[in-house]
């Protein structure tokens, strides 16, 4: 018994050292964002001589951080709202009714999970221009509906099947319409899956790079956080103190989100992976 206890303590110590090395790059990013240029160049691993937020003031203004943050928020909100609304409604009918139409529509909805984004990105640009969806935050958000629906329908469909049909049937007898049943009875029951879909899609849309790069990169007004960080590093190639500051600013919202929602995020990620 004693032996296992010592073993556990030893294991824990090894893990703590491993975790410290593992997270060290993030630590380096943070301390170097607080140093002036000269200090970054002479020694990366030294702690800042005194903590200054000049880099932050400069970068905040240069990339217009506040606007970028709200751009991300707008795109993610629009994308998420549409994906959840349309997918849950669609999956409800698709899992409840078994006709030739619903079977085919279900396949039509989930097959795109097999198509890599890079397979369609070239022509998507042309499609987005035709439908006036490029160069706008709304347009980008709407595009996420199309790309997010397949997996969301798949996840919702699996869950709705586990809800007893008697619930809808008794409501139908009471004279409720399908729309009322869905929004009053079914949708509230979907909460756990909606949380899963939300976690997966927020992490995806918030951090996405390639689609925003193709769609909203031409004007500073419509850039996202990741896009701005990417452009910024390109311009300030060797000014690592500014680059690291931009990185920290782009990452902080995600980390705060993670700290607050940790339990939901891990649950959602696991549920999404196992079902997907």
């Amino acid at each position: 018994m004693k032996k296992t206890k010592i073993g556990l303590i030893l294991l824990e110590m090894i893990l703590i050292v491993a975790a410290a090395i593992f997270i060290y790059p993030v630590f380096l990013m943070v301390i170097n964002s607080l140093k002036p240029f000269a200090e970054v160049v002479t020694d990366v691993i030294a702690l800042p001589k005194k903590i200054e937020f000049q880099n932050y003031a400069y970068v905040t203004e240069k990339i217009n951080f506040v606007r970028l943050f709200f751009n991300n928020l707008t795109i993610t909100t629009i994308g998420l709202a549409g994906i959840i609304l349309f997918s849950s409604m669609g999956a409800y009918i698709l899992s409840r009714r078994n006709t030739k139409f619903t079977r085919m529509a279900y396949m039509f909805c989930i097959i795109p999970m097999l198509i890599p984004f890079q397979t369609i990105m070239i022509t998507l640009l042309k499609v987005a221009k035709t439908f006036h969806l490029s160069d706008s935050l709304w347009g980008l958000g709407i595009q996420y509906w199309g790309f997010g629906i397949p997996m969301a329908v798949f996840i919702y469909n699996g869950f709705i099947k586990t809800i007893p049909r008697e619930i809808d049937e008794s409501a139908t007898i009471d004279g409720a319409s399908t729309l009322t049943i869905f929004f009053r009875i079914i949708f509230p029951l979907l909460k756990p899956v909606t949380a899963t879909v939300a976690v997966l899609d927020v992490m995806w849309i918030w951090n996405d790079f390639l689609l925003p790069m193709l769609m909203v990169n031409s004007r500073p007004q419509t850039k996202t956080l990741t896009l701005a960080a990417y452009t910024f590093v390109g311009q300030y190639n060797t000014n690592w103190h500014y680059a690291m500051t931009a990185m920290v600013m782009a990452v902080v919202p995600s980390i705060l989100f993670f700290i607050v929602m940790q339990k939901h995020i891990i649950k959602g990620v696991v549920a999404g992976a196992v079902k997907g």
Binding site: T102, A105, C109
Partner: protein
């Protein structure tokens, strides 16, 4: 009455499912079909009319310049190494972190953090570490590994990309394995111990088989993610040094948006689709068989 009911059902079907069909149709199927058409044309994106050239693009892919073939080989090498290493490391971490440790929760969180960051940012952080950080660490420790040109040397650049990819993703696979391990009932493990099974025997003959579904999930996810690797390479090496670290997706991007060969790019993107489709169905098929046997 009966007919009215049926029409009402049809109307409901359409109004509930219609938005999904329209959105997926426009965003995915329409560009997909267009890709099929453009893959058979010569089109620079600017000219109004693409020129139809049949299967010439597909022939050029494999007989013309070797960029595409090279990027396929790179991606294959990358995927195999990534799938093997990320699964082993994350499984080891999971096994260690399901034990009753005081710091288990915070350690799990630390290993998960890179997964919530944008991959572009992860790539940039590591570019900074490899180029600037290693120079300082070398000055401090005088260790040879910090002296190497991790991004400038062809061979090392490949391993740098692998290291960074694993660093970013290991937490994700770890939490799936942890969930799988926690689902194994304690009494099964106790029974094995009572029967005299030692630590490693118990792991390989009791735990691993019971972990089957999690392993399937992780291998499948790591496969589909590694074939499509893009952001990390773009931020870390940009395909360099000397164009040796182009993945298939990065090569498609270069062909279409930098060389402006949209037709050829579309052809490459369809080849990618076929590869992904073939590999995923193949892997799913194998796992189905395996699960039946078990």
């Amino acid at each position: 009455m009966q007919l009215g009911q049926k029409n009402k059902m049809k109307l409901e079907n359409l109004s509930f499912v219609g938005p999904c069909l329209i959105l997926v149709g426009i965003m995915v199927y329409l560009p997909f079909v267009m890709s099929m058409y453009y893959s058979m044309t010569k089109w620079n994106g600017i000219a109004k009319e693409p020129i139809f050239i049949g299967f010439q693009n597909f022939i050029n892919l494999f007989t013309g310049d070797q960029n595409f073939v090279r990027s396929i080989l790179f991606t294959a090498k990358y995927s195999i190494l990534f799938i093997v290493v990320v699964n082993i490391i994350s499984l080891l971490l999971a096994v260690a972190l399901v034990k009753k440790l005081k710091t288990a929760n915070i350690l799990r969180a630390i290993f998960f953090i890179p997964y919530i960051m944008s991959m572009i940012i992860v790539g940039f952080i590591w570019r900074f570490i490899f180029s600037q950080g290693f120079a300082s660490l070398q000055a401090m420790t005088d260790w040879g590994i910090f002296k190497l040109s991790w991004l400038g040397d062809t061979k090392l650049a490949f391993y740098s990309i692998i290291i960074v990819s694993i660093w970013q993703a290991v937490g994700f696979y770890m939490v799936i394995y942890i969930a799988g391990l926690q689902a194994i009932p304690d009494d099964v493990l106790e029974a094995a111990t009572v029967d005299g099974a030692g630590g490693s025997y118990r792991f390989f003959h009791v735990v691993l088989p019971l972990l089957g579904p999690s392993i399937t999930t992780c291998i499948f996810m790591s496969l589909t993610n590694s074939i499509k690797v893009f952001d990390i390479i773009l931020a870390l090496t940009g395909g360099g040094p000397g164009g040796t670290t182009y993945s298939v997706t990065l090569d498609i991007y270069r062909e279409a948006f930098q060389n402006n060969n949209y037709g050829l790019g579309a052809a490459k993107s369809l080849v990618l689709f076929v590869i992904v489709l073939a590999l995923t169905t193949f892997v799913l098929h194998i796992f189905k068989k395996k699960e039946v046997e078990m």
